[in-house]
Amino acid sequence: MRVQIKLFSVLRDYVSDYDPEKGVAADLPVGATVSDVLSHLGIPMSKVPVVICNGRILQAGDTIQPDSTLNIFQPVAGG
């Protein structure tokens, strides 16, 4: 299945020639989870990636739906 991903903060450094306007597309097996997407992109957990889909923050074991758009960030706090 196809998933569209937009990366933010330093996570963009993990995809060579990252295009901020288009993001990056990923082909993943049906039933892939958030963890699978992060492994696929090579984003280490040390960067503490936060995955948002449709305005909701997902957990590591959540399944990704086909044709989703994911926005992936690092954690933020108020300021």
């Binding site: 903060s9 963009r12 305005g55 926005n71 706090a77």
Partner: protein, 572 residues
């Protein structure tokens, strides 16, 4: 460490030892307890009975990183509540190193006389006639003051907005490069300063008179451990140095909680053009700067220097809340316009957040169109000119709402919300409604709980407890002089332990982290007691009606926390 007390009625200055009941306190904690003890809650905030205080944090001036915040406090003309407003730059560190626990400004100068307070490197304070600076905008003012007094000074000052005693007037604070671009922005303390006839405070930045540290070796170790915790954290180690607080634009929009078009939408279509990522790219192309150190002893270095297409300086530092209030809130998706508005507000000495929200209300009422950048710039210039609309705008969003007979005014106790819509972040709804400060962006921001998946932002569960927790922590942070952007590491074992060890090494004590919680609760109780005596009741701890009735797209939720639950926030 001492109090420097200034009587503006007769320009008498007295330097006093800190009374015993205020020992071990700093920043917001000191200021709030002092105001509770000494200022009549029913006084006119712009009259002679209000007191204006400036206090570095308890650890201000020490070697602990990121502890150079300056707390400013008084009764607020904008909210009518007790108010603490907090600024960065170099003033807090300079004050700490001059051995100043607090500068206390009482009374009121004669109507036509302005003054400047100068504190020299040996701690000597004097008032200097300052009528020649009347009407000056802050950038020109600090340039003149550096010429007169030398560049080795830290300055806090008001612009034309403070002189006009506009209720949203700020007090600007100089950064490491001498620009008056940091702000004690919220609550109109610039108006209080103006009402007392004080144009500027100039502190020598070469002081060496901090109190002795009880255990210097332990302090140094704790300070190193704390710095390591801050640097290795993804928010303060990756996001902030590279993108500044502008790094919040993307996640908050992605969560559907970015109040746009006067808080009628939770996602701003143009947000990618005003994100931290886009700004960093733009500045790299133009020769602007990100990752700058704006404040003393900061290891995060989140500041930026925004330049225009020709590489010319526009403003510093462009922060999330200004990008929100002058961007999404008024429909502007152009960083150049937002940067210009930021500069104008700093130069005039007025709060960017109140001004942006005020303009959003005006646009929502049909006065001008959302997205009209030139109209926004013209409106802010009207504040400088003192026109009728300028004075209305300068008096905050509620004044704008009344002037245009418009009811969608996103304020609590007169102060506007910040860049987190309460309908999409129920915990921030609680903080906005219940904080003694009015709606506020730092007083108890719960966003970190959502981003880390600990709480669901759209449900009521856990929100009151989270707001209570963050409100308590923030009082402590504001009392120590710590920057909020380093404060999230307090919730990690390494950061929390290092922090309490630093405090104990400084004071020679054996406090636990729980003692800090007790301090926070004590201060919040004093602030609430003041507000009660000033006439506030629980009906003032609620959000404006439209937040309960108008669902915010895309989640289409309203504030769901009941009044009864809001009232439990301060059940400690």
């Amino acid at each position: 460490m001492r109090f420097i007390r200034i009587n503006m009625n007769n320009q008498e200055i007295s330097v006093e030892p800190v009374p015993s009941q205020y020992l071990g306190l700093g920043g917001r904690g000191l200021i709030s307890l002092y105001i509770h003890d000494h200022v009549a809650p029913t006084c006119d905030p712009l009259g002679p009975d209000n007191t204006l205080l400036f206090a570095p944090g308890l650890l201000g001036g020490t070697q602990l990183i990121n502890t150079s915040r300056i707390a400013v406090g008084a009764k607020s003309p904008l909210t009518g509540t007790i108010k603490e407003s907090n600024a960065g730059g170099i003033f807090g560190d300079a004050a700490g190193r001059l051995g100043i626990t607090a500068i206390i400004i009482e009374g009121q100068a004669h109507q036509d006389q302005f003054w400047l307070l100068k504190v020299d490197v040996d701690g000597e304070a004097r008032l200097v006639p300052a009528n020649e600076y009347k009407g000056m905008r802050t950038y020109a003012l600090v340039e003149t003051l550096f010429e007169s007094y030398g560049s080795h000074n830290a300055i806090m000052c008001i612009g034309p907005a403070g002189e006009q005693m506009l209720h949203a007037a700020s007090i600007q604070s100089t950064d490491t490069k001498g620009r008056p671009c940091r702000a004690a922005g919220r609550g109109g303390l610039g108006a209080v300063m103006g009402s007392k006839g004080l144009k500027a405070i100039v502190l020598d930045s070469g002081g060496r008179a901090t109190d002795a540290i009880a255990d210097p070796e332990a302090f140094e170790k704790a300070a190193k451990d704390f710095a390591r915790a801050v640097r290795s954290n993804p928010f303060s180690g990756d996001v902030l140095p590279k993108f500044g607080t502008a790094g919040l634009v993307a996640p908050v929009n992605s969560m559907g909680g970015f109040p746009s078009y006067n808080a009628t939408k939770g996602v701003f279509e143009g947000w990618e053009k005003i994100s931290g990522e886009h700004m960093a790219e733009l500045m790299a192309k133009r020769g602007g700067k990100t990752g700058q150190q704006g404040c003393s002893k900061c290891v995060i270095q989140c500041s930026n220097e925004f330049v225009d297409a020709r590489g010319k300086y526009v403003t510093s530092s462009l922060e999330y809340e200004t990008i929100w209030s002058m961007g999404g809130m008024i429909g502007i998706d152009d960083l150049d316009t937002i940067a210009r508005l930021d500069f104008l507000c700093d130069d005039l000495g007025i709060d960017t957040m109140s001004t942006g929200v005020g303009m959003a209300v005006a646009m929502d009422a049909g006065h001008k169109s959302f997205g009209d950048g030139q109209a926004a710039i013209d409106m802010v210039e009207e504040i400088a000119k003192g026109t009728e609309l300028g004075r209305v705008l300068g008096n905050g969003p509620e004044a704008v709402g009344r002037y245009f007979h418009h009811s969608r005014v996103p304020v609590v106790k007169g102060q506007s919300i910040s860049g987190y819509d309460p309908r999409a972040m129920q915990g921030n709804a609680v903080t906005y409604a219940t904080s003694p400060m009015g709606a506020d962006h730092t007083a108890g921001n719960v966003v970190a709980e959502y981003v880390t998946g600990k709480l669901d932002p759209l449900k009521t569960k856990g929100q009151v407890a989270a707001s209570r927790h963050h409100q308590i922590i923030m009082v402590v942070v504001d009392s120590i002089g710590l920057c909020i952007l380093a404060s999230h590491v307090l919730s990690t074992p390494e950061g929390g332990q290092a922090f309490i060890k630093a405090i104990n090494a400084k004071l020679g004590g054996t406090l636990e982290l729980t003692s800090l919680t007790e301090l926070g609760i004590r201060i919040l109780k004093a602030e609430r007691a003041f507000n009660r005596k000033a006439g506030f009741t629980k009906k003032d701890d609620r959000l404006p009606r439209f937040f309960y009735e108008e669902p915010l797209p895309p989640h289409n939720t309203v504030v769901q926390i009941s009044g009864e639950d809001m009232d439990k926030t301060f059940e400690f």
